[in-house]
C-alpha cells in the first residue's frame, strides 16, 4: 500500500513501549491517518522483552499480522539489541532508533555483532537521561522515545504532534496536573536531542 509506514517497538515489560505505540496511533489518527496500534502479547511480566507495532497509512490496511519488514524500529532499552533480533527485516531505507547515551557511531561499533549486518541509519537518543531529569524517573523513557520516532519518521508534522500530545497528556493526567509540563518538556527534548539526523 502506498504511503504506509510500519514501525516495530522493542521494549521490556513495564517500560511503556505499548503505551508509546498507542500514543503514536492517537497522534497519527488525529492527523486523519488510518492507524493500527497493537502489542504482541505473551507472558506479561516486568522486564521481559515485548514488541508493539504501528501501521500508519492514508488508506485502511486490512492486514492483521505482526510486522516483519518495518520501516522503523524503536528500541526502548538498548540492552535488548543483544537479546532480540531488533533489526530483523528492517528496511535499510528506514532507521533504527535506540534509547542510549551512546552516539549512533558508538552504537554501530558496540553492537556490531548484534545488528545482523544492518546497513541502514541508526539514531540515538538518551531518553532515560531525559526522563530522569524531567520526570524524576529514568524508566519513564517512552515519551521521549515517542518524540524521537516522530522526528525520525516524519510520519506526523512536529507542531501537530506537540498539540496532540498536550491534549492527550492533559486528558490522561487530569488528576495529576503537575506532571503535564514535565512530560511536555520530555517530548520537546525528545524531538530536539535525537542524534544521527
Amino acid at each position: 500500500m502506498s504511503n504506509m509506514v510500519e514501525i516495530r517497538w522493542h521494549g521490556r515489560g513495564g517500560q511503556g513501549a505499548k503505551t508509546a505505540s498507542l500514543l503514536l496511533a492517537d497522534a497519527a489518527f488525529a492527523q486523519g491517518k488510518y492507524v493500527q496500534g497493537f502489542p504482541e502479547y505473551g507472558p506479561e511480566r516486568m522486564g521481559a522483552p515485548i514488541a508493539a507495532y504501528n501501521r500508519i497509512s492514508d488508506e485502511r490496511s486490512s492486514v492483521h499480522s505482526n510486522i516483519y519488514e518495518p520501516d522503523f524500529v524503536v528500541v526502548v532499552d538498548a540492552t535488548l539489541l543483544s537479546a532480540v533480533a531488533a533489526t530483523a527485516g528492517l528496511k535499510e531505507t528506514g532507521g533504527l532508533v535506540v534509547n542510549s547515551e551512546k552516539s549512533p557511531e558508538e552504537l554501530a561499533k558496540y553492537y556490531a555483532a548484534d545488528l545482523g549486518g544492518y546497513k541502514g541509519k541508526i539514531y540515538s537518543i538518551d531518553a532515560s537521561q531525559i526522563a530522569g531529569e524531567e520526570l524524576g524517573n529514568r524508566s519513564l523513557s517512552n515519551t521521549a522515545m515517542l518524540a524521537a520516532i516522530v522526528k525520525v519518521s516524519g510520519v506526523i508534522p512536529e507542531d501537530s504532534f506537540m498539540k496532540e500530545m498536550e491534549a492527550s497528556i492533559k486528558d490522561t493526567f487530569s488528576s495529576k496536573p503537575h506532571v503535564i509540563a514535565p512530560n511536555m518538556k520530555a517530548i520537546e527534548r525528545g524531538l530536539k536531542e535525537v542524534k544521527g539526523l
Binding site: Q36, Y41, R60, S62, H64
Partner: protein, 394 residues
C-alpha cells in the same frame, strides 16, 4: 455521518453495549475479554447506562444470571473468552433451548491445554452446535456493528435465540484501529425496546425450565431447529435495515474478488483481511483468486455458499481450530457439505492455521493460493487435512 474514533475491538464492543444500554449485564472477567467488563462496569459506575451489573463469581453463574434476567424479560448481555465460555457450556444449551435471546461477546481465545491466552477459534467453534446464532467479525468495526445488529436478530419473534458475536482475541480486541460509530440516539432507535411475548414478571404464571418429558421435548427441539432456519432471513433483513442507518452493508458472508475467481480461500475473523491482501497481490499479477469471509456461521449459509463457490476450481477452507477428528476443522466440514449438492464441485482442501496465537501472515495465504494452483493443475486434492505455520511441517 457517524463518529470517527480510534478504538480497540474491546472498546468497540463495550461502546456498542453502552449505546444499547441493556437491562442486565452479568459477567466474569477473563483474558482477553476482561477489558470489556472493565469498561462496561465503569459506565455503570459513572451512571452512563441504566444497566443492572451483576458481578458474579464464575462464568457458569454469569450465564445463569443472564438466563434468569432474560426469562424475566430483560435485555441481557455478557462477554467471555476460552475457558470462560467452556464453563458456560451447560447453560449455553439452556439459554437457547428455552429460547431466551441475549447477546454474548466472545473474544476468541484458545481453549487450553497447555494453557494459552492467545487467539484461535477453539472456544466458539466448540459451541457451534449449542443453538446459538454465531456472527464473526474481521475487525473492530464489524465487532461493533454485529453487536448492535445481534440485539434485533436474537429478539425477533421468528428467532428468539441467543447470539454470540465473535472477534479475535488480542489481534483485534487489543489493537486500536479507525472506526466509525453511530450516534447514541441512532443506536437507541435501531435496537428499540425488547418486548418479549411472555416473561416471568408479566403477572401471568409461567414456568421456565421445568422437566420436559419425552412427550414434548422433541417438539421443542424441532422448534429450536426451525428458529435457526428462520434466523437466516431475519439476519439479512436486520442487516439491510442497519445498512440504511450506518451505510455499512453486511450479508451472510463477504465475497472479495470472487466473481471470476478460480482459486478461493474461505476464512473467518481477522485473518480474512490478511487473506484479502494476498489476493490483491496475486490479482495484480493477473491471477484469478478471491476470498470468501464467513460472517454468519450459525445458521450456516449452506445454499448461499454453494452458489458463491460453484464456479471455483479449487477452494481452501481455513480453520483456526482443529477438530482432532483426523479429517478436518469445523468450517471445512460445513463448507464441504455445502458443496456436495453442486453437480460440478470445486476441489476442496483444509488448512488448520494460527492456533494459540501463531501469527498469520500474507505469506501464509500466498502459500495456500499456491497450493491451490497445484490442486487445479493436477486435478487432485492430495492430502485434504493440512496444517500451515507449524514448525517442522511447512
Amino acid at each position: 455521518m457517524g463518529i470517527r474514533k480510534l478504538l480497540s475491538g474491546n472498546e468497540a464492543t463495550a461502546t456498542a453495549m453502552k449505546q444499547i444500554n441493556p437491562d442486565v449485564v452479568a459477567a466474569y472477567p477473563i483474558t482477553p475479554s476482561t477489558e470489556v467488563v472493565h469498561y462496561f462496569s465503569q459506565y455503570v459506575a459513572d451512571g452512563e447506562v441504566d444497566t443492572q451489573f451483576v458481578a458474579v463469581e464464575s462464568e457458569h453463574s454469569a450465564m445463569s444470571a443472564c438466563i434468569g434476567a432474560s426469562a424475566a424479560g430483560g435485555r441481557t448481555s455478557t462477554v467471555t473468552s476460552a475457558c470462560g465460555l467452556a464453563l458456560m457450556w451447560e447453560l449455553l444449551y439452556v439459554a437457547s433451548g428455552q429460547r431466551l435471546p441475549m447477546t454474548l461477546a466472545v473474544i476468541n481465545r484458545a481453549l487450553s491445554g497447555p494453557i494459552n491466552i492467545n487467539n484461535d477459534h477453539s472456544d466458539s467453534m466448540g459451541a457451534r452446535d449449542s443453538g446459538w446464532i454465531q456472527l464473526y467479525s474481521e475487525n473492530n468495526q464489524e465487532a461493533y456493528d454485529n453487536y448492535i445488529m445481534a440485539q434485533r436478530i436474537g429478539e425477533h419473534k421468528d428467532v428468539l435465540l441467543p447470539v454470540m458475536v465473535c472477534q479475535d482475541g488480542f489481534i483485534t480486541s487489543h489493537a486500536v484501529e479507525n472506526i466509525e460509530l453511530l450516534e447514541d440516539d441512532k443506536v437507541k432507535d435501531f435496537v428499540g425496546k425488547f418486548e418479549p411475548t411472555r416473561h416471568l414478571l408479566d403477572g401471568k404464571p409461567l414456568s421456565v425450565g421445568p422437566y420436559d418429558t419425552p412427550m414434548h421435548y422433541f417438539e421443542h427441539q424441532y422448534q429450536r431447529a426451525q428458529a435457526m432456519i428462520a434466523a437466516k432471513k431475519v439476519i439479512l433483513d436486520v442487516s439491510k435495515e442497519y445498512a440504511k442507518v450506518s451505510g455499512r452493508e453486511y450479508g451472510l458472508f463477504e465475497t472479495y474478488k470472487l466473481e471470476d475467481a478460480e482459486r478461493v480461500i474461505v476464512v473467518v475473523n481477522s485473518s480474512a483481511g490478511t487473506a484479502k491482501v494476498a489476493a490483491d497481490q496475486l490479482r495484480a499479477k493477473g491471477e484469478k483468486v478471491g476470498v470468501l469471509k464467513i460472517r454468519v456461521f450459525r445458521p450456516f449459509p449452506v445454499t448461499e455458499i454453494a452458489e458463491a463457490l460453484k464456479n471455483a476450481k479449487a477452494v481452501a477452507v481455513m480453520d483456526k481450530c482443529d477438530s482432532f477428528n483426523a479429517m478436518g476443522g469445523p468450517v471445512f466440514v460445513d463448507v464441504r457439505t455445502a458443496l456436495y449438492e453442486l453437480e460440478k464441485r470445486p476441489l476442496t482442501i483444509n488448512y488448520i492455521y494460527g492456533l494459540g496465537g501463531r501469527d498469520v501472515t500474507v505469506d501464509n495465504f500466498l502459500t495456500v493460493f499456491n497450493a491451490l494452483s497445484e490442486v487445479v493443475k493436477t486435478g487432485k486434492t492430495g492430502e485434504t487435512y493440512r496444517h500451515i505455520g507449524v514448525r517442522g511441517v511447512n
